[in-house]
Amino acid sequence: MGVYEEVVQSTAEALIQASTTFRTDQIEAYHRAIALEKNVHAKWILGKIISNAEIAKEQRVPLCDDTGVPHVLIEVGDKAEIPKGFFQAIDGGIKKGLRELPGRPMAVCGDDLSRISQSCGLFEDSGALTMAPPQIKRLPGDKITLTVLMLGGGPEIRGKTLPVFHQHSYDVVIKEMISWGTESSMLLGCQPCILAYGIGRTHLEAASLCLEAMAKGDLSKQSKTEKLIKDEINKEGIGPLGMGGSCTVLGVFVNIGPQRASGVRIISLRAGCCFDPRRATVTFCFN
């Protein structure tokens, strides 16, 4: 297999794995939540999510029918060689993965204006759904890691990127993050949520930090800030699917970047659904 074909195949496999398989930290987080949950209806829903994950893994079918829009985080080692056609091969792998999964055929047809109004229908080909612009980061070493994330639509409705005036207080910012998380968790409809926050200097930077939080976050390793946000929102008792219970938020990922010398912090929130983050990583070394 040539380098181009290797990248195509590995990218496709990462997309399918991200879409069909719970990682260990997700399975363990659900079992912890079921053990702690006292609300029988909430327990029923959490149990269905685990059963769903078992069927999806066994049959290699999507965890959720909203298979999401593919996003990729590419981390390139300083000494890594990027082969010719690498990005084209990732594009090809995304297309192949979407066709094989199969992804929900939800690419919108038409010119700029008709795509907005969705007036020309949808492509029948699952592979017509293009990925979002890749996010690239440099790292030490000679390897390239590619993380494929599949971002469903519900969390896009409930997410936002906005400035927060910090008043030189960490507490002010955290309080606002809890407020956003509570509001989003209440409206999402696919609780328990996995909340991902990026905090940066610009809207674009905050959104990219949020994506990185989803690419790296581990539900079994929660920082003090992450645990605080989770515990405060869970006190509201919204629960799985809004049915009540102690597990509104399964986990929180916070990624704090460099900050601007000013009175404002830009925060990007993605109120992820019960399957988030759907992601898988593959590592290449072409040296």
């Binding site: 965890l63 929900r104 519900g154 409206l187 409809g189 049915m243």
Partner: protein, 167 residues
């Protein structure tokens, strides 16, 4: 509780919030794109001409694709605003997800219709589909108005008889 479609008014009267139900038989699917168009057909009195009989029906707010089925948020404007007229036209059980307004709770009660929520567990839900076909608006693709035959689609009753779990 086992529910076989079509659903009678008496069956609905015996259902309470927090009841777990399993649907057997034929149900319709529609979401953002199809439901407002369906409402227009009802307003024009053309729904039966299209061969669609909503009396005693179950309506699942989902797309239908090779990726499976799964509830979309029912509190989207296009969906929630269609519930009153669809209920009057005969839909007895709306299945979706998300919190609905108190106004919708009242509208559903007036028509003796209920709202049930379904976990977005597509792998599990897709495993109970026995048949699927497009009924109307095929140009909407995965969002077309479909009919499915299901064997034990699980849901939990969230709104019934003026009561809601979303307090």
């Amino acid at each position: 509780m086992i529910i076989t479609t079509p659903v009678s008014n008496d069956i609905i009267k015996g259902i309470s919030i927090f009841d777990k139900i399993k649907i057997f038989g034929l149900l319709f699917t529609g979401r953002d794109a199809a439901l407002p168009r369906l409402v227009e057909l009802i307003k024009k009195g053309e729904i039966l001409k299209k061969g669609i009989d909503l009396k005693g029906s179950v309506l699942f707010h989902t797309a239908v694709s090779a990726a499976g089925i799964g509830p979309t948020s029912s509190n989207k404007k296009e969906i929630e605003s269609s519930l009153p007229i669809l209920s009057k036209a005969g839909v007895k059980i709306h299945i979706g997800k998300g919190r609905l307004s108190n106004l919708t709770v009242d509208f559903l009660n007036e028509s003796n219709s209920i709202f049930a929520i379904c976990p977005p567990v597509s792998a599990l839900l897709s495993s109970v589909i026995r048949m699927k076909r497009v009924v109307a608006f095929p140009e909407e693709g995965i969002e077309a108005f479909h009919c499915l035959e299901v064997e034990g689609l699980p849901a939990l009753v969230a709104i019934a008889h003026g009561k809601t779990i979303f307090q």
